[in-house]
């Protein structure tokens, strides 16, 4: 299960994720971002309550990063140790902006 809470303020979009970002839930996030990202220059993703991420989730993050590189910037906040370790292993910590 994945709960997505969005907060929009001008061209800044804050997306808070809660639960698991896996193969079954990744398409959900992908669809949400696809509809909301146009016009956004500052994307903030709050991972505070994200428990889990698999390669499907990474794929969504990668495509979001690619889009945001063209129209602004994206950053991840409140990343837990477990998820950070997955970013480290996969080299995502080099391409994502993690605070």
């Amino acid at each position: 299960m994945l709960n997505i809470t969005k907060k929009s303020e001008g061209t800044t979009l804050e997306v808070a994720l809660e639960g698991r970002l896996d193969t079954t839930t990744a398409p959900q996030l992908e669809a949400e971002l696809k509809s909301d990202l146009p016009g956004v220059t500052n994307l903030i993703m709050d991972f505070e309550k994200l428990e889990y991420i698999s390669s499907a989730g990474l794929r969504v993050l990668l495509s979001a990063q690619k889009i945001m590189n063209k129209q602004g910037e994206m950053k991840l906040i409140h990343v837990s140790d477990v998820i950070n370790e997955i970013f480290e292993v996969t080299g995502f910590s080099d391409i994502l902006n993690i605070e």
Partner: protein
């Protein structure tokens, strides 16, 4: 000592000289007195003596003789010169030349003086010669000599008496004596000094040196370090007397002693070297035996423990255990005949041969036959080794054993007691070439145990030369038959120790116990499900349920979840494309080791994910590909991954230790 000896000698010398001198003096005086007497006698007419006494008349002749005798007296040493006529009791004075008023008148008679005079009276009456008489009466020291006179008829007529004053002679004697004593003392003192000086120089000083050297030598010998000494050698005693001989003997003794010490040091060093080498040999031998327990920490299907308590010297006992493969355990208990270095060397060869040959496969009989042939080659020392060799199939508990002349093993089935398994043994290994070995099978069920040992156990001897024997051994085993091997061996060792007491240990005491707990108690579960992405949550729920049972950590669970998802989604997306097939997920948990193994089986197209190239995780974001990242994550987070394709199935196993 020397002084008292000198005093005694001096005293004897003085006495002898004194007596001799006195004799000479007396003889001299006597001779003189006799001469005086003889001269006086020649002037006297003995025939007239009786006449004078009878008449008392001093006639002309008497006066003439008186004058002559007075002259003689005055001109000689005689003090008194007189003529007497001895009677029986009295002496009659005929003439006395004493010029003083004390002169005795003619015809005066008086009794003999007591002593020598009276004793000589009878002889004087007869007119015989008498020895001179020395007296110290009223006239002082006198020597009285009597010269006999005879009438013309030959009758005794009287005596001319000559008294010589001895005072002078006594003074002479005293002077002589004092001079003699003085001289003797001086000579004795000088002799003593010379003697002491000489003995000091030639005897006492060398002996003092020798004595000091002997003390030094004793001290040197008593000191901890046995070094060579040059104590006597450094002395300079050159005398040729007994002291010199003693010095040469002692010097020779020291020389011999040094040689002896040198020899002893060499021998001791050699012995220490051999001892040290033997210690190393014992250590090497002990190190050859597997001694780290638990020997197989990852395994739960059996437990093993073994000990060897060596006797003083290196011996020939050994035990061994090793996994031939994952499912077969080799067990060895053996005892080489004899003791010491030869037995130890033989043991090393036998142990190596058995293990190496066992690793190549084959049953115990086959292994022992090979080892027998090898050991018989060039076995000039005619050593042999008794061996119990067993190979246990761990998954089933089936075992094969060969017993080449070794002690009967003790076995315990289930909850029972340890009992000896007695059957016919083959001969010991290396006894004879071309031997074949009997082999028999046995079955171990979970809970069963085998105890093997060498004769050091059963032949442990107490101070009354009684043996420990198998009965006591079984009793010790059955005190706590269900105890784990380590405790069991300790029980037996304690029983031996209390039985033996202070008696020395003659033989190595070697024991080994294996308890079979059966195939690994794994928790295995399986889920077979249609390989569709929609079923992922069901798969994860199944895996998570298993992991929670063994208290998996959050981090490990997430890593395992990610791995399961990546692999299952892979199968769902690609294995059966375009159709749909099923996948089986099997979990195996080892609670003891905390190892989790998850196996995925599908019948789709053969695909080995391990062969897939790793993605480049250093590329910039625009060039990044998402493909292959999932498997890469699995590889990175799991401890092990295995893939095989068998019977039309892809079988992929991931392993992770969750502790």
């Amino acid at each position: 000592m020397v002084v008292s000896l000198a005093l005694i000698l001096g005293f004897l010398l003085i006495v002898a000289n004194y007596i001799h001198y006195q004799d000479v003096m007396l003889e001299h005086y006597e001779h003189d007195a006799m001469n005086i007497g003889a001269i006086a006698a020649s002037q006297i007419d003995p025939d007239r003596i009786q006449h004078y006494l009878d008449t008392g008349e001093r006639d002309e002749e008497y006066e003439r003789v008186y004058r002559i005798l007075s002259d003689i007296r005055a001109n000689s040493e005689a003090k008194y010169l007189y003529v007497v006529k001895p009677g029986t009791d009295e002496v009659w004075y005929v003439m006395d030349t004493d010029p003083s008023e004390n002169a005795i008148p003619l015809g005066y008679h008086e009794p003999y003086y007591a002593g020598a005079f009276k004793e000589n009276a009878p002889r004087m009456v007869r007119g015989e010669r008498i020895a001179p008489i020395v007296s110290n009466e009223e006239f002082g020291w006198l020597m009285s000599v009597y010269y006999p006179l005879h009438t013309s008829a030959g009758e005794p007529a009287g005596y001319v008496g000559v008294d010589i004053q001895m005072t002078e002679m006594v003074n002479d004697l005293r002077l002589f004596l004092s001079q003699l004593i003085g001289l003797t003392l001086v000579v004795a003192v000088i002799a003593c000094i010379v003697y002491i000086t000489i003995t000091n120089r030639t005897i006492a000083e060398p002996i003092r040196q020798l004595s000091g050297a002997a003390n030094q030598l004793v001290e040197a010998e008593q000191s901890a370090e046995k070094t060579e000494t040059r104590i006597f050698e450094n002395l300079t005693i050159r005398s040729q007397d007994e002291v010199g001989a003693l010095y040469r003997s002692l010097s020779q003794m020291e020389h011999d002693m040094n040689a002896y010490i040198r020899d002893l040091l060499t021998v001791t060093a050699e012995r220490e070297r051999i001892g040290a080498e033997l210690n190393i040999a014992t250590q090497i031998q002990a190190d050859m035996l597997p001694r780290i327990f638990p020997a197989f920490p990852g395994r739960t299907d059996f437990e093993i423990y073994a000990t060897m308590t060596p006797a003083k010297e290196v011996g020939g006992d050994f035990y061994d255990f090793f996994l031939i493969d994952d499912d077969h355990l080799g067990l060895v208990m053996a005892d080489v005949s004899g003791k010491g270095v030869p037995a130890a060397l033989f043991m090393v060869i036998a142990k190596t041969l058995i293990k190496n040959r066992a690793q190549m496969g084959g049953g115990p009989a086959e292994i022992l036959q090979y080892v027998n042939e090898q050991l018989c080659e060039g076995n000039e020392a005619e050593l042999f080794v008794t061996v119990w060799l067993a190979i246990v199939e761990l998954s089933t508990g089936k075992g094969l054993a060969a017993n080449a002349g070794h002690e009967h093993p003790a076995i315990r089935h289930g909850d029972g007691m340890y009992e000896l398994v007695v059957y016919r043994h083959s001969p010991a290994v290396a006894v004879m070439e071309g031997m074949r070995f009997r082999e028999h099978s046995f079955q171990l069920n979970p809970g069963d145990a085998i105890f093997v040992y060498t004769d050091g156990v059963t032949e442990a001897t107490d101070k009354n030369n009684e043996l420990f024997k198998t009965d006591r051994m079984l009793a010790a085993l059955n005190r706590e038959p269900s105890a784990e091997p380590e405790k069991l061996l300790k029980n037996v060792k304690d029983a031996i120790d209390s039985f033996v007491g202070d008696a020395p240990q003659f033989d190595d005491i070697t024991m080994m116990c294996i308890q079979y707990t059966g195939p690994e108690a794994k928790k295995m579960k399986e889920l077979t499900i249609e390989a569709r992405v929609e079923n992922l949550s069901e798969v994860l729920a199944f895996v998570d349920g298993q992991l929670e049972e063994i208290c998996c950590s959050m981090k490990a669970q997430i890593q395992l979840d990610v791995a399961v998802e990546e692999i299952f989604v892979n199968i769902a997306n690609y294995a059966y494309t375009p159709n749909v097939g099923s996948a089986t997920i099997r979990t195996e948990l080892e609670p003891k080791t905390g190892m989790v193994a998850i196996t995925f089986v599908d019948s789709g197209i053969p695909y080995d994910p391990l062969k897939k190239e790793d993605p480049d995780v250093s590329l910039p974001v625009e060039e990044r590909q998402i493909g292959g990242l999932g498997i890469y994550m699995v590889k990175k987070s799991m401890d092990d991954m295995l893939y095989k394709y068998k019977d039309g199935q892809n079988i992929l196993t991931i392993k992770k230790c969750i502790r």
